[in-house]
Symmetry: C2
Subunit: 325 residues, 2 copies
């Protein structure tokens, strides 16, 4: 399958790396909104201007769109789905239904297939939730994120006056996780589930007490959490906080038996050194599914719920039955 | 959807319990090879002789076959797939390709759909393996079972002279699990992965030393493992070992990055108070998928790899996108 990347940031570069590990994938182009001459790919894949994308119609089996969910993808995916089979990782949960409708119209009218909200959350975590809740209809779902870097929260801190750089780690509260794993089905407030650790580089002479207070009282982002703020130097930031680890767990606990006498715990967990590289690896597997499904004449907008696992694998059905079942 | 159970042991009774938790499932009949008058169902579902099954053609949407993999299912599933949409939990991994071919022929020729090898292993563990290996093609798979009762190993002990009853627990070796979870990608021998704990009720006057030696040296079952044997009374067996817990973990570790510089760990784990009830709960969700897929005109033999997650859920696609994605 011939793949291309639209948008070359951390995620796009991750897709480029992941393509190397998938012999059935050929990465033919990277598209950027920047001046292509200024963009160097990791493995020498040619870079083109995003403006020239339509010259590649019929040359790309699946286009992987690596834009941001806030403003990029709501525009990009419906537009590009008119001309290509596409995969995106749209992750603004609340806006998924609207995004789905826009993309579905574009893809359906043009005979393409578009998979939205792929990755790990939404994505593999969503898949964990649907399987677990389908099998144990009487039960409770819990999702814990981290320990990992939240880009959105890091960005929010960076917007504060006097802050040069910031990194925010989301950390699950061990007591909460243990209680859930023990099948105790606790009711947990936002504060009881996660803490937030902030590492901040302040400008010289900045009012650190004021910065700390602004962070801790920021609505939505921090005020509902127990938050710690640690001021560090630019050197410490580079040395200790330059990677983007993440992960988390989706846990469902439920009961079976005539009187609900038996408890069960299903847990799906990820521990990732690099959030963008893992997301990118998932996108390639989902792109394979899109490629196979389009080959069977399937069109329109899909989500990870619509993808049979066999379509994600490079192995044949016979190999899968013989070796993975 | 109208469901029926074929074979009423632990698993069949589990399906009966699970049906209560799924409002879209109506359990209309239990079929048994025993005298139906001697079989009492937990919730009053009517019991019929297995010989009368063909009288129910066109009255059952999905028949859940709850027989054993050694001799029952290889006969039952191909036969019943001629007349019904069926689900089984065939779990003899090595014979799945042959079973698939036999069932596929029967189902395909008669316009039915048959899902084989559903449950948790094969089943949900297989699904965990295919997703993880599709996303991280460069990596290693590990499956740990337990702590849980292995019926096959318990039966093997019961066949020894002088043994009245036995229960065998499969136990993962904590050091091995920890090493895998840490991404160390160890090479593990059979002995390094699991230990086997045996609880045995011996007949009065039986030679316990001989029984213990026979267990520990039994090829395939025990000789490759560190095995402990504890003799207990019949009362202790009833009191402490009457439930059938099980579980385990499927772990894949892999690397990404141009030079494989980032490690990732994907883990899917189950902790089950009742192995048959959880398996049964999975079978109902898979039966729902069979029902939906047959409604779309799909026929032939399928495995869990061929099932899109959305088909397992009682929720609509709109609800799934809005709430679970």
């Amino acid at each position: 399958m011939k793949l291309a990347i639209y948008g070359y940031g951390n995620l796009g570069a991750g897709v480029e790396c992941a393509a190397l590990q998938n012999p059935d994938a050929e990465l033919i182009a990277v598209f950027t909104r920047r001046n292509p001459d200024t963009v160097k790919t990791l493995t020498g894949v040619p870079v083109y201007s995003a403006d020239s994308i339509l010259d590649f119609k019929n040359k790309i089996d699946v286009l992987i769109i690596c834009g941001g969910s806030a403003t990029d993808l709501p525009e990009m995916t419906p537009y590009l789905a008119k001309y290509f089979n596409v995969v995106d990782s749209f992750d603004t949960h609340a806006n998924i239904p609207v995004h789905f409708d826009n993309v579905n119209k574009a893809a359906e009218e043009n005979g393409n297939i578009a998979l939205i909200s792929a990755g790990w959350d939404p994505g593999m975590f969503s898949i964990a939730r649907i399987y677990a809740s389908s099998i144990l209809p009487v039960g409770n779902d819990y999702t814990f994120w981290g320990r990992g870097v939240s880009q959105g929260h890091s960005d929010a801190i960076r917007r504060i006056d006097g802050v040069l750089d910031a990194r925010q780690y989301t950390v699950p509260v061990p007591e909460a996780v243990n209680s859930v794993r023990a099948g105790e089905e606790p009711e947990l407030s936002t504060r009881q589930k996660h803490t937030r650790e902030c590492f901040v580089v302040a400008a010289e002479g900045a009012d650190k007490a004021k910065i700390e207070s602004e962070i801790k009282n920021m609505p939505n982002y921090f005020s509902d959490y127990n938050t710690t703020v640690t001021f560090i130097t630019e050197e410490e930031m580079k040395k200790n906080h330059s990677s983007l680890p993440h992960g988390g767990s989706v846990i469902r606990t439920g009961k079976t038996g005539v009187n609900g006498e038996n408890k069960h715990v299903i847990e799906y967990s990820l521990k990732l050194d690099s959030n963008p590289q893992f997301t990118a690896s998932a996108l390639i597997a989902f792109a394979r599914a899109v490629f196979k499904m389009h080959g069977r004449g399937i069109t329109g907008c899909k989500t990870v719920f619509d993808i049979a696992p066999a379509d994600m694998s490079a192995l044949s059905s016979e190999e899968l039955r013989a070796h993975l079942l």
